[in-house]
């Protein structure tokens, strides 16, 4: 039972992170390999704001979430915008470089020590019993809820709003979309903002649950196989992929060796890439477009 609960929590965490990869990839075919660092940045922002607004933890949290949104927007406008029209792989390399840059800056600003935003916010994280001797932490429960709400919201957004429609159009044929008067840069900027928003949220929840340190980048990187297994341009795929990767990881930890947990997602990834490179729910044509 406890295993099952852990599985759901891990799936929620991966899903929350991997939707950031999907959002950007779907719209611009760029894989943002700085996502782990951006996640961490969100968590650090929460820590700083929490120290600033000692009295209002809710305010600090809301502020950090808002700032994460802004970070993505700014990043697109000052950096990634220059890469539109360049080779996709060049843009991916830029995100790798961005990741290094961010990591350096974060160590400079916040040092490499492990931080615990939850104690600064003054919140508690009591375990929630689920019956049958199983329990998960309150933050983990919140993570599951946030993931569900976020995915529902995003799916509705893509399905029913004009911005969502424009994002889908741009994702398929950016040039044609531009010709039809859709503001490409605005759409891309929105995708980046939403991506850092969801990533930042994931980072904050993760930091609230288990502290804030350099391992977060690895968690971010591990969520990327989840996005790819499901199909990089599908939100539903990201959920399913997260579940598969989480399941494989938990099984491996239980039956093989806890040390292996960092590798399992990548083994799943390779298996998937060799069998069905475009993922479970992805569009097949993508592979040839690289």
């Amino acid at each position: 039972m406890q295993v099952l609960a852990n599985l759901v929590v891990l799936t929620a965490i991966y899903a929350l992170i991997s939707c950031g990869y999907v959002l950007i990839y779907r719209v611009s075919r760029v894989l943002n390999l700085a996502h782990g660092e951006l996640m961490m940045l969100g968590a650090y922002l929460l820590f700083t704001l929490a120290s600033l607004f000692k009295g209002g933890p809710e305010l600090a949290f809301a502020g950090a979430v808002g700032l994460s949104l802004l970070v993505g927007f700014v990043l697109y406008v000052v950096l990634m915008r220059k890469m539109t029209g360049e080779l996709v792989i060049a843009a991916v390399l830029v995100t790798i470089a961005l990741g290094i840059l961010l990591r350096g800056l974060m160590v400079l600003i916040w040092t490499a020590r492990d931080l615990h935003p939850i104690s600064v916010l003054g919140w508690k994280n009591p375990p929630v019993p689920l019956g049958g001797g199983t329990s998960i932490s309150s933050v983990a429960l919140a993570t599951i809820l946030v993931a569900v709400v976020l995915y529902l919201a995003l799916m509705l957004f893509f399905r029913y709003t004009r911005w969502g429609l424009q994002m889908r159009a741009v994702g398929e044929r950016p040039l044609l979309a531009a010709q039809r008067g859709i503001k490409l840069h605005a759409v891309y900027a929105l995708a980046w903002a939403l991506s850092t928003f969801s990533g930042g949220l994931a980072g904050m929840l993760l930091a609230l649950d288990s502290g804030l340190g350099s391992t977060m980048v690895i968690v971010g990187l591990k969520a990327f196989p989840a996005a790819l297994v499901g199909g990089l341009d599908s939100l539903l795929g990201a959920v399913v992929g997260s579940f598969i990767v989480a399941a494989a990881e938990i099984l491996a930890i239980h039956f093989i060796d806890p040390l292996i947990s960092d590798v399992v997602p990548f083994v799943v990834l390779i298996a998937m890439l060799l069998v069905r490179p475009w993922g479970l729910f992805g569009t097949k044509e993508e592979i040839e477009r690289v």
Partner: protein
């Protein structure tokens, strides 16, 4: 012969020539002299730097062949280096194998891993291929870590210096000449490979693999060959690295190392062996230059403890700048400068003005 309006090739033989002009011949000769004299004047610290550059040049050339020429993007370079280093370390520790065994053994492991890393390239391109090699990196790293913990070498496997013809390689100066010889061999090998039939197949595959296939180039075999050659050179570097540093630890082979090598290709200039060398020099020296700069500027001296983080940030920034503003890398800058002086006083303008 350099002419006032530029250098023109008048025969196919000239196109293939490695050294094209007298000026180049003179410059190269001068460079060789500097290289030979350097170890007798350099302090140990600078000797060590030179050796590090030499090691990086081999692995950077390997990645340049694969990425810059054959167009196969690999993010598993650190994994391959680790494989070479660990093959050496394990063989040395477990059976006490000498240099002459571990080096070829590393090459064999490299060839096998090259096949493994290369197999996905038969189905995947670009981004997806990069991701697969990244995944393979994690698996190799895991295997290395597993060996360390299982055998209780948690701080790393120590390797004693190799002996060549009964002559122990302990001094930096000796290493300098051994590595220099390796570099010359590898660079000449790569230069010759690139202008051979195989090398041109690499380029054809990079530029358009469907067309290459239509032209009768065995795309699959050539891709695998690129991976194998590159991987063998990389594991050889890994093996040398193990001996040079005297110990092997998986902590040294992070994704960051891979990124450094990718950066060498980008910053040096993709698709050029000179680029690989320039990139290796730049990336190896970069952190030391930054640190020296921090120490020199009095106002920033208190930052010395943060030098590592500053390095990280500055390195990321440099990579971003090169990717955005100078995709041709240092070689591009060098060529522009050279053309500028060659064509002077005529201003060189591109045909189009829009771009």
């Amino acid at each position: 012969m350099a002419q006032a309006s530029g250098y023109f090739k008048t025969s196919y033989g000239q196109e293939l020539r490695l050294i094209e002009t007298t000026t180049q011949k003179v410059a190269l000769a001068a460079f060789v002299v500097v290289l030979l004299v350097y170890p007798f004047f350099a302090k140990p610290f600078f000797l060590d730097l030179a050796n590090q550059v030499f090691l990086a040049v081999i692995a950077a050339s390997a990645l340049m062949l694969l990425t810059g020429f054959a167009g196969q993007i690999s993010l598993g370079h650190a994994g391959l280096l680790a494989a070479g280093a660990f093959t050496t370390g394990i063989l040395y520790k477990e059976v006490g194998a000498p240099f002459w065994v571990t080096l070829p053994a590393s090459a064999v492991v490299g060839a096998l891993l090259g096949l493994v890393f290369g197999l996905p390239s038969l189905r995947l391109k670009g981004l997806y291929l990069a991701v697969t090699t990244l995944a393979l990196h994690f698996i190799v790293a895991y295997a290395g870590g597993e060996y360390e913990t299982k055998r209780g070498y948690s701080t790393g496997v120590s390797v004693s210096p190799p002996s060549l013809f009964g002559f122990e390689l302990t001094q930096g100066r000796h290493w300098y000449f051994v590595l220099l010889a390796f570099d010359v061999l590898v660079v000449l090998f790569c230069l010759n490979l690139v202008r051979s039939r195989t090398g041109r197949s690499f380029i054809a595959i990079r530029d358009h693999d469907t067309v290459a296939e239509a032209l009768g180039i065995p795309v699959k075999r050539t891709k695998l060959l690129a991976f194998v050659i590159s991987s063998v050179l990389t594991t050889l570097t890994g093996s040398l690295l193990a001996y040079y540093q005297g110990f092997v630890t998986i902590q040294a082979f992070t994704i960051y190392l891979t990124i450094e090598y990718v950066a060498m290709v980008i910053i040096g200039g993709s698709g050029s062996m000179l680029g690989a060398i320039l990139g290796a020099v730049f990336v190896v020296l970069f952190p030391h230059v930054i640190e020296a700069a921090i120490r020199l500027v009095p106002a920033s001296r208190h930052l010395v403890n943060d030098a590592f983080a500053i390095n990280f940030a500055a390195f990321g920034l440099i990579m971003v700048l090169f990717l955005i503003f100078e995709p041709l890398g240092l070689v591009g800058i060098w060529r522009r400068l050279r053309d500028y002086f060659l064509l002077w006083p005529f201003r060189q303008t591109a045909v189009g003005k829009g771009g």
